[in-house]
């Protein structure tokens, strides 16, 4: 499978600040690729470089195999993190304008199809300023994809949406994938990344820290998590042998095993202290991995 996007040793600095540091990355054609990482890690900068809004200081970016990829920009759609819509324009006019910038074909049928699909037909002739936040987010999404791009880059597409609207957009993204479109999106919602992405990429302080399928990533971390529900509270779980850390979720707890910790020993010890209602040996969730890399207590580890 060829790659839709390839980054080779890409570096971008703004003044003294290195936003992206020697980054290499391959996004296979037709995949859904999730970008995760804390705020300010370099996600948006990377996406903007792929869009040729920014140019890298060094390194090579190839899109669809082409290095001078301005020519490919029309095949890529972009949904920026902050919504950029002309408030005074009417929804349909605006969509035709945005899609028309990408495509010289007649974009109206596609615009109308998406308006209908996302339940915005009644709003087609209203001004953008009359839309709610969720609606304008959907409009922005249509603006990005109505030109039938080969690849879409979505910066935080689902943030700030209610579950119903978020599902509508997720379905739309999956529909794009089915039609062979490459999708790159960034998200802070680990659940979304876990369930939707073929591959996940994490950037932290401008550097790549994770890249692969969810299974690859979880394999790196092994099955070192115990999910636990007991009748006791966290006090009953203190100082368990072989347990490195306890995360309290209120109704349940998550224990992380230290290297060489034995889950059987832990189970026996917990049973001795209180009544166990649920005991599950699991791989760490993406959320967990994210926090281990970027959480406050992980500072030293990730520097090493």
């Amino acid at each position: 499978m060829t790659n839709a996007v390839e980054l080779e040793n890409v570096t971008k600095t703004f003044g003294q600040h290195t936003a992206v540091d020697d980054l290499s990355l391959q996004v296979p054609r037709g995949s859904v690729y999730g970008f995760i990482g804390p705020n300010g890690a370099g996600k948006t900068t990377t996406l903007r470089m792929i869009m040729t809004i920014f140019y890298p200081d060094s390194g090579v970016i190839r899109v669809f195999g082409d290095e001078r990829h301005e020519a490919c920009a029309d095949r890529i759609a972009y949904l920026p993190e902050e919504r950029g819509l002309y408030k005074k324009m009417k929804v349909r006019e605006l969509l035709i304008f945005y899609a028309g910038l990408k495509s010289s074909a007649d974009v109206r049928p596609e615009v109308d199809r998406w308006l209908e699909k996302l339940g915005l037909t009644d709003w087609a002739h209203k001004k953008v300023e009359a839309l709610s936040k969720g609606m304008s987010q959907k409009v922005q999404f249509i603006a990005a994809i109505a030109s039938k791009p080969d690849m879409v880059i979505l910066d935080e597409p689902f943030s700030g949406l209610d579950p119903v609207n978020a599902d509508v957009l997720k379905d739309a993204v999956l529909e794009l994938r089915q039609s062979g479109t490459t999708v790159i999106f960034s998200t802070h919602d680990m659940n979304t990344a876990e369930t939707m992405c073929d591959r996940i990429f994490m950037i932290f302080r401008g550097r790549k820290v994770l890249d692969g399928t969810l299974r690859d990533i979880q394999d790196q971390y092994g099955s070192d998590v115990i999910r636990l529900q007991t009748d006791g509270n966290t006090a009953a779980l203190q100082n368990l042998p072989g347990v490195e850390r306890i995360r309290d979720h209120g109704q349940s707890q998550e224990l992380r095993l230290a290297d060489g910790g034995d889950p059987q020993v832990v189970l026996a010890e917990v049973m001795a202290r209180t009544r166990v209602r649920r005991f599950e040996l699991a791989r760490p969730s993406l959320h967990d991995i994210f926090v281990r890399i970027a959480g406050p207590e992980a500072g030293e580890a990730s520097h090493a």
């Binding site: 903007r48 809004i53 029309d74 759609a77 902050e82």
Partner: protein
Amino acid sequence: MRKILLLAKREYLSSVKTKAFFVMVALMPVLMSGGIITVAVMESQVDTEAKRIGILDRTGQIAEAVAEAARIRNENAIRDPETGEQTNPAYEIEIITPEEDAAAQRVALSQRVRGQELHAFVEIGANVIRPPAGGPPTAAERITYHAPNAIFHDARRWIRGAVQNQIRSIRFAAEGLDRGLINRLFNCPDVEGASLVSVDATGGVKDAVKSHEGRAIGVPAGMMFLMFMMIMVGAAPLVNAVLEEKMQRIAEVLLGSVKPFELMVGKLLGTVAVSLTVLAIYLAGGIGALYYLELEDFVPFEVLPWLIVYMIAAVFLFGSLLIGLGAACNDLKEAQSMMMPVWVLMMVPMMVWMQVAKYPEGAFATIMSLIPPFTPMLMLIRQSTPAGVPAWQPWLGLVGVAAFTVLCVWGAGRIFRVGILMQGKPPSIGSLLKWAIRG
């Protein structure tokens, strides 16, 4: 190119398809010529109430004649001869006998003026007819007009004429001269301004045309205001447009599809189209009005192509500067202070235009009109004066404007590219220049 045109079309429609646009097109000429019209309206609204003026004549030989002159004026000169409508107030003269205590009498008369019993009172000194030679004039040799706001009283001017006339008549009579003869001797024609005489194509001599104030100043002024309005209509809203795109993060979406330079040029083209639309409306209206008033000679047809060419250049020039600076700012407040230098560039021609219109061939006018940012307005003024300019100068000016415009668009394009995605502290002038030069 397709994208640039699409951007231009959106920019154009977003300006033209608003109510604000129609209001502005309608109001702009009113605001611009508002001062002139207001003055004209105010002047036609004269006070026609009769004015009672007291004359305290210490010579005893003048007041009667003034009262008689006033009576003749009230009968003959205060009505429009055609409509019979009263256009000026009547003057009623009250002859006041001098009393012994002059100071007390002045106070009493002032009191009557304050009480609005009198419009004003005039005191004529005893020696005004035959003042003694030498020395500064004393109170007895002066004529004073007393009123709360004496300087602006029209009556004062009329009184002066009537009093001086009577004094001269008395003096002529004393010397045994005939007043009618003197009048005839003093009656000379005025010196009229006229254009130069030239030979036309058939070899015949074209008669000189009588110079007209309206033609000499009105037409150049009209052309300049038209140009200024076009720049304001077109270029000024660009700041808001760019700020909207930057603040609403629209720029980021657009830059995913077009290059920054394409975006800027698209906006400029849309703006030029807006200006041309407004210009077409105003020119049609203006020329129509001049034909209606049978002043078609005033239309400087030969200068109109230059107006259009210079206007396009000026909108590009100022528009690109405003776009570049607008892109560097984060909000309107910042933008306003940043725009100051550009506004100053626009205003300079407004400050010197009188001088340029009066002496279009002078060195000052020539040099100023060849400085690129001023050329569109000032060269146009010089071209529309009756004297005109040497044929090569508009072309030289155009080359200068074109070169400067290209420079501005290029530099602004580079500032725009950096600034449009930049958030946070606005850059200094120094870093703007750095962006423009280094890109």
